[in-house]
């Protein structure tokens, strides 16, 4: 992969929509301003990742987790992001759990009728195996 980090940008349409919703009606954004915000957003991700990774390493972990990102926000002085991020994370976790259970129900139905009917809800912590619509979790970064 010969991409430089600066080349990795976020979709213009989404960035523009977020900007427009943050500003009052009737306010416009010049192309240059939108472009600058988009680049700033990419830099934000890179910087936050680096910061979060320091927390992971401090905790002797090889996997960057949500807590590391939250710690990074605090470190970067974006404490005001913490409350909304935690709420979003809760919603996200509930959704992922719902998806997981939907998959398990599907699997159960596919199983023969002879199965145990009174199976309790699983308590596995296999959230590492959760699949996104787009891609798998925790792909190895081959650097």
């Amino acid at each position: 992969m010969a991409e430089r980090p600066e080349d990795l940008n976020l979709p213009n349409a989404v960035i523009t929509r977020i900007i427009k919703e943050a500003l009052p009606d009737g306010v416009n954004i010049s192309k240059e301003a939108r472009s600058a915000i988009s680049r700033a957003a990419s830099v934000f991700v890179l910087y936050a990742t680096s910061c979060a990774n320091n927390f992971a390493m401090k905790g002797k972990r090889k996997t960057l987790n949500a807590g590391d990102v939250l710690s990074a926000m605090e470190e970067m002085e974006f404490q005001r992001f913490l409350a909304p991020l935690k709420e979003s994370l809760e919603v996200y976790r509930r959704e992922q759990k719902g998806k997981k259970e939907a998959r398990k129900d599907k699997d159960k139905k596919a199983d023969s009728e002879e199965q145990d009917k009174s199976r309790e809800e699983d308590n596995d912590d296999d959230d590492e195996r959760m699949e996104e619509e787009e891609q798998n979790d925790e792909e190895e970064v081959d650097n």
Binding site: E3, L8, L10, V14, I18, I19, E21, A22, L23, G26, V27, N28, I29, S30, E32, A33, A36, I37, A40, A41, V43, F44, V45, Y47, A48, T49, S50, A52, N53, M57, K62, T63, L64, N65, A66, V69, L70, M76, E77, F78, F81, A83, P84, L85, E87, S88, L89, E90, V91, Y92, Q96, D127, E128, M130, E132, E134, D137, E140, V141, N143
Partner: protein, 81 residues
């Protein structure tokens, strides 16, 4: 955007940025999600902060210089300089 909103930025693109860091081994899906949400909040914040300068200039169009002014003036944006 409400606090409980799910990410609008595609997680795959955010993940690509995370992977660009040579020091990062693995990132959990949740981490990528929180990063995506944080980035959205960041975009909102910087847009609003820049807009203050447009207002001072009595303009209804946000311009590049408004961004530059906000970045220079606000400590949290120092990493962008």
């Amino acid at each position: 955007t409400g606090p409980a909103r799910l990410a609008r930025l595609p997680l795959a693109r955010v993940k690509a940025l995370v992977k660009a860091d040579p020091d990062v081994t693995l990132a959990s899906q949740e981490a990528v999600f929180v990063l995506a949400r944080a980035t959205e909040l960041f975009v909102e914040t910087i847009a609003k902060d820049a807009y203050v300068y447009a207002q001072q200039g009595k303009r209804k169009t946000l311009q590049r210089k408004d961004l530059d002014n906000a970045i220079e003036a606000i400590d949290e944006f120092a990493f962008l300089e």
